[in-house]
């Protein structure tokens, strides 16, 4: 037991590494927020474009979504991070990770928003258009508000699952939470920083996970 505490919760290691861990946590939060905001916005934008029913554009969106759903994010991170400099385009590692994760989130979010829009019955469109509402107004005031309840729970869960991938930053040297921890582990030959990192992730993501389950229950109850 003592050995366990010594390896995973070593007081002197905690004392010497917590500032590093904290700065890593800040970068993780920063990265996560950028991914969430841009990814969701772009996903919604794509779903809205899709409502215009322009065949070529819709096909392009479907291909984009499918590819980003099928490719592991780490594959894209490696291709962009190690490939682009060789053609003369160097992006900072933070930007690479942000770009990849935001695109992945956008793809999943587009699917979810689109399914939500499809689930609104045609009569709602008919009613709104028959009173003279424009297409954008119908979307904004009649259709989208009705999708929130259906869309929010899967959207939150998906967002968490994708945002957690900020930990992949450690592979390309983004000084985020996991990266700070693994660096400290190899310096100190002690697993405590890893434990601190795990706790850091829990602090960031457990509240969001709980929020997601709460949403799910609330909306499931309302439906019944």
């Amino acid at each position: 037991m003592e050995r366990f505490v010594d390896t995973f919760f070593n007081a002197s290691v905690i004392a010497s590494t917590w500032p590093k861990i904290l700065s890593g946590m800040l970068i993780t939060v920063e990265l996560a927020l950028s991914v969430v905001v841009t990814g969701l916005a772009f996903g919604l934008f794509l779903a809205l474009i899709r409502t215009a029913q322009i065949r070529l554009l819709n096909a392009a969106i479907v291909v984009f979504v499918d590819v980003l759903r099928a490719l592991p994010p780490l594959v894209m991170v490696l291709i962009i991070y190690f490939g682009l400099p060789n053609v003369g385009l160097t992006l900072p590692s933070f930007a690479v990770l942000w770009l990849v994760l935001a695109a992945v989130l956008a793809a999943f979010a587009e699917e979810i928003f689109w399914a939500g829009i499809l689930s609104v019955r045609r009569g709602q469109w008919d009613a709104a258009r028959s009173t003279g509402l424009t297409f954008p107004d119908t979307l904004a005031f009649v259709v989208l508000p009705q999708t929130i309840r259906m869309v929010l729970p899967p959207l939150v869960n998906r967002t968490i699952a994708i945002t957690k991938n900020t930990a992949l930053g450690t592979v390309i040297g983004v000084p985020e939470l996991l990266n700070q921890a693994t660096t400290a582990v190899s310096f100190l030959s002690n697993a405590t920083p890893l434990m601190l990192a795990a706790i850091g992730y829990l602090i960031i993501f457990v509240p969001v996970v709980l929020f997601g389950s709460w949403l799910e229950q609330r909306f499931a109850f309302r439906k019944a």
Binding site: A70, G83, V87, A161, N190, Y201, F205
Partner: protein, 221 residues
């Protein structure tokens, strides 16, 4: 443009790396073969525990699944692979990968299956029990098949996520698809092997993605 093709779609480099990648793909499939059934069974146990009469069991499993859903799988993997050796427990990368991914995917499969089981009304339980079926048989033969059908889109898309997840085993030097590709990249100073790995993932997963999204839209409307 030429430089771009040279760097990302270099057929010569791809051809040379191909055998290596195929061996990597074999390992990737092996990991999937271990982790998907493990995760599914784990998820089934999680779903059962979440429905159990014992509040203690319900709550502790709930807390565990929430923790594993909050923890990035890479953190979990590194914790198991590089953390445990400090206590004297030394695991092969394969075992570490199995443990870490089992914990992660059980939590996700568990959530999906629980939602499925909850979607089955009490009428089904009562009808089956009234014909004398035991609780276990009712669950296995009446409730579970319907539950699985109700959440099939989520099960498929969750399985896609598990296959994609195996790519991070490369971080602990598992010689799976992405690791092999990245090795080839670092030798050739050319990103084409990783692009090829991406294409292999696409070939593997695109049909599943299509299936998932068709199932989703069928249930949605």
């Amino acid at each position: 443009m030429d430089a771009f093709i040279e760097q990302f779609f270099n057929l010569g480099v791809m051809a040379k790396a191909f055998p290596l990648l195929m061996r990597g793909l074999g390992m990737t499939l092996l990991i999937c073969l271990a982790v998907i059934p493990l995760g599914f069974v784990g998820g089934l146990l999680v779903a059962l525990a979440r429905l159990s009469r014992s509040a203690m069991l319900r709550i502790s499993v709930r807390i565990l699944t929430d923790l594993f859903r909050a923890l990035p799988p890479l953190v979990l993997l590194i914790l198991v692979y590089s953390g445990l050796p400090f206590t004297g427990i030394r695991l092969s990368p394969f075992t570490a990968v199995c443990i870490a991914f089992f914990l992660n995917s059980s939590a996700y499969y568990g959530e999906v299956l629980r939602a499925g089981v909850e979607s089955i009304g009490s009428g089904q339980w009562e009808a089956a029990r009234s014909t004398g079926l035991s609780g276990r048989d009712t669950f296995l033969f009446v409730v579970l098949p319907q539950a699985v059908r109700n959440v099939l889109p989520d099960l498929v898309s969750n399985t896609i996520e598990v296959v994609k997840l195996t790519s991070i085993a490369s971080v602990v030097s598992m010689t799976e698809l992405l690791y092999s590709a990245d090795m080839a990249r670092s030798i050739t100073f050319n990103a084409s092997p990783v692009v090829l790995a991406g294409l292999i993932y696409l070939v593997l997963l695109w049909p599943a993605v299509r299936l998932a999204s068709r199932l989703e839209h069928r249930v949605g409307t």
